[in-house]
């Protein structure tokens, strides 16, 4: 008698394996977050967030890094948002397929796949050295801006595409020009989607290390101008952990970093959902 597994049994086995692997993936995620939180939450305090960093990070808090992260990220967003949103508007509203469309989306797709260390190399040679901006908030911000442009382009593109065509027709039939229509109908309607892109960009910028460490530097002082070198949270955490300066401080910094990332993703997710529920 030959033993043969029937298609039903096969299906059950396959299902169980898929379920198991998916669960493992989810567990890994929760484990990473949980593990960091478990060791880090206890170290968090208002003092930690508002105190200067002392003794290379063995003592004190992370105020300089919080400020550094904030400024570098804001800088990046201010540069990248108009460029990203503008590109997406052009792609959707002004090109109808064609060569220009292909060139622009190819650029965005390729740029999205460039690893952060390459951005780091580029930012270092171009902004820090050639433009002589030094290790600074500006150099870091510009480098991150280039890095997050594709994120903003892609999300905005989807959001703008989701605006019903009829809205544009109404605007035109009421005598609105193309620019009126874009500014008063298309962009306001797609705003939640655009914000999602911007927020995801913030998330990428905050978590980035390789691209900022060679452009913003790693100075622990409180930044005083756009030309100050600064050490972002992610970089600070990297240095704490890799050089084994202080494990408790490393966990605490990682906890702050993850809380920011969770918050960013949560907000982006909620915004996107509200938007999609309306127009898809």
């Amino acid at each position: 008698m030959t033993f043969r597994i029937g298609p039903r049994t096969n299906q059950i086995i396959a299902y169980s394996i898929l379920l198991l692997m998916t669960l493992i993936t989810v567990v890994v995620l929760f484990f990473i977050i949980g593990y960091v939180f478990k060791n880090g939450i206890g170290q968090l305090s208002l003092e930690f967030l508002t105190d200067k960093t002392r003794d290379m990070g063995k003592e004190g808090g992370i105020l300089p890094s919080i400020l550094g992260t904030f400024f570098v990220t804001i800088f990046a967003i201010i540069i990248a948002t108009p460029l990203g949103v503008g590109s997406a508007v052009y792609l959707v509203e002004y090109t109808k397929g064609g060569l220009i469309h292909r060139i622009i989306s190819f650029g965005a797709d390729c740029l999205a796949g460039v690893p952060s260390i390459i951005f780091g190399l580029f930012g270092f040679i171009f902004f820090v050295i050639k433009l002589n901006l030094g290790w600074s908030i500006i150099s870091g911000g510009l480098t991150l801006a280039v890095m997050i442009i594709p994120t903003i382009i892609r999300t905005t593109e989807e959001a703008i595409k989701a605006v019903p065509h009829s809205f544009r027709e109404i605007s035109y039939s009421l005598g609105g020009g193309k620019l009126d229509t874009i500014l008063k109908v298309v962009l306001p309607t797609s705003l939640p989607g655009i914000l999602t892109g911007v927020i995801l960009g913030i998330g990428r910028a905050v978590g980035e290390t390789a691209a900022v460490i060679f452009t913003a530097g790693s100075s622990l002082g409180i930044p005083t101008s756009a030309f100050s070198s600064t050490r972002t949270l992610a970089v600070h955490f990297y240095i704490l952990a890799r050089e084994g300066i202080s494990m408790p401080k490393a966990y605490a910094t990682a906890t702050v970093l993850i809380i920011i990332i969770l918050l960013v993703n949560f907000i982006a997710y909620r915004l996107m959902h509200r938007f999609m529920a309306k127009y898809y």
């Binding site: 298609p7 096969n10 299906q11 396959a14 299902y15 394996i17 898929l18 379920l19 692997m21 998916t22 493992i24 993936t25 989810v26 995620l29 593990y35 960091v36 460029l83 503008g86 590109s87 508007v89 052009y90 002004y94 292909r102 622009i104 190819f106 650029g107 390729c110 740029l111 796949g113 460039v114 690893p115 390459i118 951005f119 780091g120 190399l121 580029f122 270092f124 040679i125 280039v146 382009i153 020009g177 193309k178 620019l179 874009i182 905050v206 978590g207 290390t209 390789a210 060679f214 992610a234 955490f237 952990a241 890799r242 490393a250 990682a254 970093l257 993850i258 960013v264 993703n265 997710y269």
Partner: protein
């Protein structure tokens, strides 16, 4: 009039991405390529890296990068595909709605956090249970595998969803089970999207830097086993850029040029496969 100006301005802005890409290409190549010509290909592709003494061989790093990337794919592909198939074909909409953002969240976690988890958990675990220093190809492969999961999942998932429902219905109509439908019909139909996802995942793995530096050990030799320490192209860049000058810095950019070329190639292949617009 207003419209014409706006269009010109937007066209200009729209070139920002491709322009950035060109700038990046230009500066990295301009800094790196001359050195390759100066020292010759045989020096550049040798295994001897001592840039302060005129040896610019990046072969052992290339092999290192390939090893951890291959390892990452071994971990990432099965788990990534499993998640994608489970999400797209075996879960109800509410489960999809919860699981998808959770898996996407994996992509949001910073590389340094992965590296850290590697240091505090994976490396000691490997050292105790398998021997060796712990900082190893194996550790890097596992962590990178997790890191590229979201890329593989989300692109494969989209590819599966893009298969028209009539295929599924046709298959169920002739009595196939869900799993048979997946294996015989959906995976082949979604093949190109899945391959593109894997290629992009590969690009991420080759390009990942911080996590790898933290857990791969970075020893400058060709690893002989999964438990050996390994140095990748990216680690070399990040470890040495801070202090390198002269030819040494140029060598790092040469190394970066090589890495960049590979990544762009992978991107182009993935874009061609998915045939985006």
């Amino acid at each position: 009039m207003k419209d014409k100006i706006a269009e010109k301005l937007l066209l200009f802005i729209a070139f920002s991405a491709i322009l950035s890409l060109l700038l990046i290409t230009f500066f990295i190549f301009q800094q790196g390529i001359p050195l390759i010509f100066k020292v010759g290909l045989s020096n550049f592709f040798s295994t001897h890296w001592a840039p302060t003494r005129g040896n610019f061989g990046i072969l052992s790093m290339i092999i290192g990068s390939l090893m951890v990337t291959a390892g990452a794919l071994v971990v990432g592909i099965p788990f990534g595909l499993a998640c994608a198939i489970f999400l797209a074909e075996f879960s109800s909409p509410p489960i999809q709605k919860t699981l998808k953002p959770i898996i996407e969240l994996l992509a949001g976690i910073p590389s340094v956090v992965y590296g850290f988890i590697g240091i505090v958990i994976l490396v000691p675990f490997i050292r105790e249970h398998f021997g060796g220093p712990g900082f190893s190809v194996l550790a890097a492969s596992i962590i990178l595998g997790i890191m590229i999961l979201p890329t593989i999942v989300s692109i494969s998932y989209d590819a599966l969803l893009a298969v028209p429902n009539t295929y599924r219905e046709g298959s169920y109509a002739v009595g196939a089970t869900k799993w048979q439908t997946v294996v015989m019909l959906l995976l082949p139909a979604a093949r190109s999207g899945i391959v593109a996802g894997i290629i992009l995942g590969m690009g991420r793995a080759i390009g990942e830097t911080m996590a790898v530096i933290m857990i791969a050990g970075n020893a400058l030799k060709i690893p002989h086993s999964m438990l050996d320490s390994v140095r990748t192209l990216t680690s070399t860049l990040a470890l040495e850029l801070g202090y390198a000058t002269g030819d040494h810095r140029a060598a790092l950019f040469a190394c970066g040029s090589f890495l960049f070329l590979i990544i762009i190639l992978l991107n182009i292949i993935a874009i061609k496969i998915t045939g985006r617009k």
